[in-house]
């Protein structure tokens, strides 16, 4: 890719998940290997086979107006909270003309499942004549981007992105393209999802991929995934824009790669993910040897972790054995469309602090997953560059690369 292209940098981050209600607390928990997966206590679980999930017990109160709150499903609320944190960290203050050059792209893999459940309950078992009035604007996956724009006064490029479990990475990668193309000066990008609701969990249960205990990525006795909720949002801007305003630069968003398997709606392939990693490195202008850390998709299904291992080997060749790999989903669970954004916190932490977040709940080596998956404990290691993998149902793959700045 072109060498003279302007760098895109990260100047703010915000995140919420079961292991922390701010980006810093999420990162602190990741370093410590905190397990955020446990019995669900904030939603009714009657009728569900399992009662495990990674839920955020209490959302921060940032004084959102009642008239705004009643229009939001939980996934939008999470997106707004994360965006608010990221925006405050960035130190941005936007004039009216600057607002026109700022935007938001928010990845959502599910939709407003809470609102849809409430609507169906109202009109069917409860026999009401009408579902709640905000059902449509709350449930639509694009709502999160709109709500973030309203909260922060972003009047430029604003839309939602949906590609199931790779939504966040597609959103962040697309925002990089928006900045590179000159369509905006600043983009808020990331993802949010709130899938811990009866209807959505029941649908996942039907797929028979949920683990009856907290998930164990890459472990030989792994038995499926755990589902979580959360959000991650980042302030991205061109390096020159960030420097002009004297912003603190957290890391460089050096590149991203997008590919598709084009084979099966649920079964993952090796070639598509491997190509996405290679395209990402090429976009970042890096060789495999320049990368120290891979934040894996690492869902803890038998198929994903084995195939992802093969894909990493295919993309990185002999250097794969020197990589530190981990799945932080072992702590915050699979937060669906928010996954890539929350996992970017681990990548930024790795390049900034030289710490690899672990894969916790790891019990036994699997010969099919024979990379260094950073079992159970964080590892100190200088990291120049890290990549974050997201592979989704639909065969859509998106990989981000961050470089130390």
């Amino acid at each position: 890719m072109s060498a003279h292209r302007e760098k895109i940098v990260i100047t703010g981050m915000g995140a919420l998940s079961s292991i922390g209600a701010s980006a810093q607390s999420v990162w602190d928990s990741m370093r410590e290997g905190v397990n955020g997966i446990g019995p669900l206590t904030t939603i009714p679980v009657d009728g569900l086979k399992g009662n495990l999930g990674a839920e955020i017990k209490l959302l921060p109160d940032i004084g959102l107006d009642h008239r705004r709150l009643v229009t939001m499903d939980r996934f939008s609320h999470l997106a707004v909270l994360a965006a608010d944190e990221a925006f405050k960290q960035s130190g941005l203050e936007l004039s009216e003309s600057q607002q026109l050059r700022c935007g938001a792209i928010v990845g959502v893999g599910t939709f407003g499942g809470i609102s849809i459940d409430e609507a169906y309950r109202a009109v069917w078992p409860e026999g009401k004549k009408h579902p709640p009035i905000f059902t449509v604007p709350k449930a639509m996956p694009g709502a999160a981007a709109g709500q973030v724009s309203m909260h922060l006064g972003l009047k430029g490029v604003v839309f939602g992105v949906s590609s199931a479990c790779s939504s966040s990475n597609h959103a962040i990668g697309t925002a990089v393209d928006v900045l590179r193309s000159g369509r905006a000066d600043v983009m808020l990008a990331g993802g949010a999802d709130a899938p811990l609701i009866f209807g959505v969990l029941k649908a996942w249960e039907a797929l028979r991929v949920l683990s009856s205990e907290p998930c164990r990525p890459f472990s030989a006795n792994r038995a499926g995934l755990s589902i979580g909720e959360g959000a991650g949002m980042f302030v991205l801007e061109t390096e020159s824009h960030a420097k002009r305003r004297g912003a603190v630069i957290l890391a460089e968003l050096a590149g991203f790669g997008m590919t598709a398997d084009a084979t099966d709606i649920v079964a993952p392939g090796v070639d598509g993910p491997a190509r996405a990693m290679r395209v990402c490195l090429e976009d970042a202008g890096l060789s495999p040897e320049d990368v120290e850390y891979v934040n894996a998709h690492g869902t803890a299904t038998k198929a994903n972790d084995m195939i992802e291992t093969q894909a990493i080997k295919l993309a990185f060749g002999a250097h794969a054995q020197d990589l530190s790999v981990s799945s932080t989903k072992s702590m915050h669970a699979h937060c669906m469309g928010a996954s890539g954004a929350i996992e970017l916190v681990a990548c930024i932490g790795a390049v900034r602090d030289g710490v690899i977040a672990p894969t916790i709940s790891y019990q036994s080596p699997d010969p099919d997953c024979d990379l260094d998956v950073t079992p159970n404990f964080a590892r100190e290691r200088p990291v120049r560059a890290a990549i974050s993998n997201s592979f989704a149902f639909g065969g859509t793959n998106a990989v981000l690369c961050v470089k130390k700045y």
């Binding site: 009642h66 008239r67 229009t71 004549k129 009408h130 009035i133 905000f134």
Partner: protein, 84 residues
Amino acid sequence: MNSELESGIIALFEQHADKAAGPISVDTRLEKLGVHSLELTEIVMDIEDKYGVEIDLSTVDTWQSFASVGDIVKAVETLLAAKV
């Protein structure tokens, strides 16, 4: 105005109104309730369900037709009287 109807309708408003907006009476202006424009339509639908009447107005018409909580109570009273 029928006081039972009045308190019943006020109770429905209270389920939506911003608590910070203070106590609700028939004199409360609709714009002082701190509700989103669409919430008023939802309150109207709740009233329709509770009293078996139909206030067939769009969201915009509802805001333009009624100024206070009392206006809505009066409208329901009229509709109920017409049913008898």
